[in-house]
Symmetry: C2
């Protein structure tokens, strides 16, 4: 039954409405959605960390006092959202960017022929890295208050020796306390992997606003293009579990021998 069960133990046991009182639509949601929320909470609180094995479907079913099928449907949705990874015969793992063959989490840039991986690792050059008080626009994008501490990073990525991406990254000072230019420079591997392993911050989704802009003097110098050269401007806000913005990134991409690839459906 999807309705009542003894309100005891750890069980979800259906907070669903039932009975006499002509209730005012008390926000019904199916059991498997409630289970999904509970699992999500365990992901957020770090009960199971990125890369770790979560309890089996049978265990979760027992814990929440529902059938295995209901847990399965909850996990199905989490897997569809790339929050967990199922592996037949082994179990279900919390999704991770670290130690994985996913080099570029959100970067959609592709060489006009081939793929980024075939171009070898990017050369990374950190131009600047400092702590500062958030200006109004940055604060708004990161759901902070103006003047809160933020960390700003500017870097250039080059592929096969050609500087291709100039990006500014802003991170909230709180969650990323202790992040230094030194650490960024010495870390080998994707930046998002560092965020996970060192700060426990996992980016779940992102939104981008894309424009065409003319290179200004600074961009032109760093990307080695003429002033006025058209560049792709990509402004990205990345979110962690609770739609909480955790990173703002403004990138300028050269698109002379690369393009931004997007799939629509």
């Amino acid at each position: 039954m999807a309705t009542t069960l003894s309100p005891s133990t750890d069980s979800v046991a259906a907070i669903n409405e039932l009975g006499a009182g002509a209730g005012a639509t008390p926000a019904f949601s199916p059991l498997y959605q409630q289970i999904k929320v509970l699992i999500l909470q365990s992901l957020q609180t770090g009960e199971w960390k990125p890369g770790e094995l979560i309890p089996s479907e049978m265990e979760l079913a027992a814990r929440f006092r529902v059938s295995q099928g209901t847990v399965r449907k909850a996990i199905d949705e989490l897997a569809a959202e790339n929050l967990v990874m199922r592996r037949q015969g082994k179990g279900t793992f919390v999704a991770t960017h670290a130690e994985q063959h996913v080099q570029y989490r959100f970067l959609r840039l592709m060489p006009d022929s081939g793929d980024l991986a075939s171009e070898g690792p990017a050369q990374r050059q950190i131009i600047d890295c400092k702590r500062l008080r958030a200006p109004a626009d940055i604060a708004r994008a990161l759901a902070l208050r103006t003047g809160d501490a933020v960390l700003q990073l500017r870097r250039v990525l080059a592929f096969q020796g050609i500087p291709t991406i100039l990006e500014d990254v802003w991170l909230p000072g709180g969650p990323f306390k202790g992040l230094t230019a030194e650490r960024l420079a010495t870390y080998r591997g994707p930046m998002y992997a560092l965020f996970e392993t060192e700060f426990g911050v996992r980016m779940v989704r992102a939104e981008e606003k894309i424009r065409a802009l003319a290179a200004d003097a600074t961009a032109a110098e760093l990307l080695k293009v003429p002033v006025g050269e058209p560049l792709l401007s990509v402004e990205r806000t990345a979110y962690t579990y609770n739609d909480l913005p955790m990173e703002l990134r403004r990138g300028l991409y050269r698109t002379d021998i690369h393009h931004y690839k997007n799939e629509l459906s």
Copy 2:
């Protein structure tokens, strides 16, 4: 059982391997996937047309000789891919773009504040429309042979009086036989709706390559910007059911007061 059933009637009845012969992995696929393919075929052949009601889960289960749950899982996937639409209490419908509140199927352009719908309907101006023999690059993109008949269309879209998009569209001559500039000019509603209702061609997904380009003389004149102005170049290939390319579109977007919005996950 997922294995054998009498090989009779219309039934899928599990082509799955079983028994003695040490087979050479004869391409196993789960029953619900086989059902999904069968339903897809009915969509492709037009047994059920866009907007129409497809048979109920129970009917399909009977027809394919499987349980309702198996049909359900197949339809679940089709719904996740936006190929069908489920409506509780009514049934499952073939997805459609026509007569729907989805004005822009693949267009990701947004005003810097608000959304496209709030800007009212776009003003459409057809610059050119002609039949021609496909050059090599167009033919390749549309999976045609060089010299095959294609239809080329050039138009400008303006929002609130400001010319914003200049696009060239190429369509294969075969499936779109009979499409004229006249018909395009007089049709009210999304172009993709016209494709469905008049030619039975439904676009299922698309790929885009995005770059920043400087406006040339032609683009500058039509979009009323200075020559050299950075524009967003969006090259889109749209596919119908069987990953068959059916449209090539090269758009130039002004991004001074609009941006291209993308969601990543």
